[in-house]
């Protein structure tokens, strides 16, 4: 009995070990090492391990007083505040439209879902071209409608419109993802509920707001999380389209209109080579992500049954 138990453990371990080895070395250990890095000053990309100077909590103290970091958190919040409602609205709209008996149903679904699997960097490059000032296609369309607001700076060069323009790219790219989830949930709602509502004289608007939207709540909450995570990880789209700019002048200091924390982290690490400081920043991101996950679990747990 003992021997077979040992054998069982051993075989199981052999099956897990390749996965576990990679997990420990590249996902587990980095989290701990990153914390250690955040307590050090590092100013090189070569041989990081041997070029550390211990500075205690200095990086976190600096971070606390770093106006640019505070700004980046604000911009991340702004990003999230735009992508969450827009993402939910666009996904839900597509799902409700598609949830009908249609010819070409799968053709439409493919069209909406395709952008989701494509490369964000490439999509960013194409949109930068579309958003160009003067002769960019979007500005030319608007000029034909006599809107000349975007002629000089385009959409990405204007501090007021840069962030919405960047977020719109991600919303249009990701709408198919949410749509698929909403469609699956919509198809799970029993038809009988609608039928009895109709008997009670409910119109389509009442059916939508009183039955459909409440029953889609779990998917909607999931979409909130997806949006917040997208804001925390926002980097590629910023790198491709705005590099954190255009600059805004507030009280004599220059800030970037799309300077989100993810981009600041990259800039600190890869451009200014302050690895310890970047690691400290990433711990703030982690703290936010954990809080969001905990809130999510709290809200979701008791109410998922339907």
């Amino acid at each position: 009995m003992r021997k077979s138990c040992l054998g069982e453990n051993l075989t199981a371990f052999l099956f897990i070990s390749p996965f576990l080895a990679i997990f420990v070395l590249f996902l587990g250990y980095p989290l701990i090492y990153s914390f250690y890095l955040s307590l050090n000053k590092v100013t090189t990309l070569v041989d990081v391990f041997n070029n550390l100077t211990f500075v205690g909590l200095d990086n976190f103290k600096t971070l606390f007083h770093d106006g640019l970091f505070g700004w980046s958190l604000l911009m991340t919040l702004y990003y999230a505040g735009l992508i969450v409602p827009l993402g939910i609205a666009s996904s839900l709209l597509l799902a409700v439209l598609l949830n009908n008996k249609l010819k070409f149903h799968s053709l439409f679904r493919t069209a909406f879902f395709l952008p989701y699997v494509l490369d964000l960097f490439v999509v960013g490059i194409v949109w930068t071209f579309i958003y160009s000032p003067h002769f960019g296609i979007l500005n030319r369309i608007l000029e034909a409608l006599n809107i000349r607001y975007f002629s000089e700076q385009g959409f990405l060069g204007n501090p007021l419109t840069a962030m919405p323009a960047v977020v719109l790219v991600n919303v249009l790219k990701g709408a198919g993802f949410g749509m698929v989830l909403y469609l699956a949930a919509l198809q799970n709602i029993p038809q009988s509920i609608y039928e009895s509502a109709e008997v009670d004289g409910a119109g389509w608007w009442q059916k939508l707001t009183k039955i459909t939207i409440p029953l889609l709540r779990p998917v909607t909450l999931f979409m909130v999380i997806v949006g917040v995570v997208a804001a925390l990880n926002a980097f590629v789209e910023i790198y491709a389209m705005t590099s954190g700019g255009p600059s805004v002048n507030i009280g004599g200091k220059a800030y970037g209109a799309t300077w989100v924390t993810g981009y600041y982290l990259f800039d600190t690490f890869y451009v200014r080579l302050k690895l310890g400081y970047a690691a400290a920043m990433s711990y703030v991101l982690l703290a936010i992500a954990v809080c969001v996950s905990l809130i999510n679990i709290r809200i979701l747990r008791p109410k998922t049954e339907y």
Binding site: I16, F19, I22, S34, L118, L265, L275, L285, S293
Partner: protein, 265 residues
Amino acid sequence: MILLYVALTFAAFVVLFPFIWMIITAFKQPGTEFSSQILPSKPTLENFKRVFTEFGFVRYFLNSTIVAVSSGVLATLLASLAAYAFTFKNFVFKEKMYGLIIASMMVPGLMYVVPQFAIINKLGWMNTYRAMIVPHLANVFGLFLLRQYMGTIPKSLIDAAKMDGANDLQIYGRIVIPLSLPIVATLFLLTFQFHWSNFLWQLIVTNKENLYTVPVGLAMFKQQHEELYTLKMAASAVSIVPISLIFVFAQRYFIEGITRGAVKE
């Protein structure tokens, strides 16, 4: 009803517009990308030709293919082996270990970039395929998907095979994997897609042109030739062809993976 089709067609146009515009521009003569004509007056293949002959995109494609295929195969293999043990074996700390692994999904991806870079550096792996592939081989989401799926395989099947004297490796290879093929395919495709478009990581672990993947090559090209719009659009168009093709034929596997993944939340 007609209104519905109009709305759907309009929505599809909006969502696909960037790709339509990219392809149209890619066929325009260089220098005419901002002219007032919508369609190219003299369509040309020149841009595509130059992308492959004057710039290193053939090599970038080769690199992307090597990285995405080997990552896809290896990550799927590792996750399926681990999922087999988590589903069908009993061992110490099983659920604790699983919980810890799954909890790591909360961590924002950007968090890993700095320490992983330091480790790759320490291992002397800079500018190698290894650096691009190995750090992402423990696919936690994949482990979750596979364990969930393997849980639906009847235990009696496994027991019967054991009675016939099959060992774990045989059960894994001859029973569990064949029965899990749809989800294995899903995982392979999702990993392939992730690595084909992975940008930040491939950017920081390579600085030699012969190791650039497609997105990194595109970024460098964009930096050096900001004004060559028609070429940029041609290169962009070509870079999304593989994923688009795979997607059109294997769409249901992508959708399967995404809906299953969201259900857990």
